[in-house]
Subunit: 106 residues, 2 copies
DNA sequence: ACCATGCGATACCAAAAGGTATCTAGTCAA
DNA sequence: TTGACTAGATACCTTTTGGTATCGCATGGT
């Protein structure tokens, strides 16, 4: 009963992992293919993939000697659910802020 | 130009900080008031509040000798924006998965 | 003026996270 | 079966993170 939202939020907290997610929205990819997009070793990418899998955000399905990593949208549900708890709150204030934010580029 | 989404995602990655957010949706609170809800020292809570402020999720406004922490919904925008990039993707597959997930409690 | 109180800042510690190097094990082609 | 390629596992290192303990600084009541 380890809070599944926790594992998902943790998985999303790293920029490399979010980039992996972005890449996987384009197509399923092997570790080697993903590693080509980063300046780090295959082992490091593997660790990120493990965290993503623990967070339920990807699934692996072996194909011959390759193991393709595929995005699993169901893993995002806990995150969306949590954020949804505050829909009312965010909406109320976001609406009021929108015009303000747009005209103050900071 | 430090990616603001990164700071926000990092702030959301800790369960204590998410609980703080939840508490702050009810009412603005001082550090002391927040600390009463956790089994940790005021200094630890203070650190979490710093991370939340860096993530743009809360703002502090002094009131006498108290400093009330207030939720800032604008800080969540980068997160919602990032998630929004995959709306199409999630939606497509979430719809297909919904019934499946509901009948497979795993 | 005093003293409680509410916070901020710092130094310090243990554990977790991100990374590399290296070794081992399957799978496919010749 | 040998060799090349793809990936998992482990040991190890460094940095970050979450936490405590402690000190000092304002603020407000008496």
């Amino acid at each position: 009963m380890t809070d599944s939202a926790q594992l998902a939020f943790r998985a999303l907290a790293d920029p490399t992992r979010r980039e992996i997610i972005r890449l996987l929205t384009q197509q399923d990819m092997s570790i080697a293919a993903l590693t080509a997009h980063f300046d780090m070793t295959r082992a490091a990418v593997k660790k990120h993939l493990t965290v993503l899998r623990e967070g339920g955000l990807i699934v692996v399905h072996p194909q011959g000697r390759e193991r393709l990593n595929r995005l699993d949208p169901a893993g995002l549900e806990p995150v969306l659910d949590w954020l949804g708890l505050f829909d009312q709150f965010w909406d109320d204030r976001l609406d009021r802020l929108k015009s303000v934010v747009e005209r103050s580029p900071e």
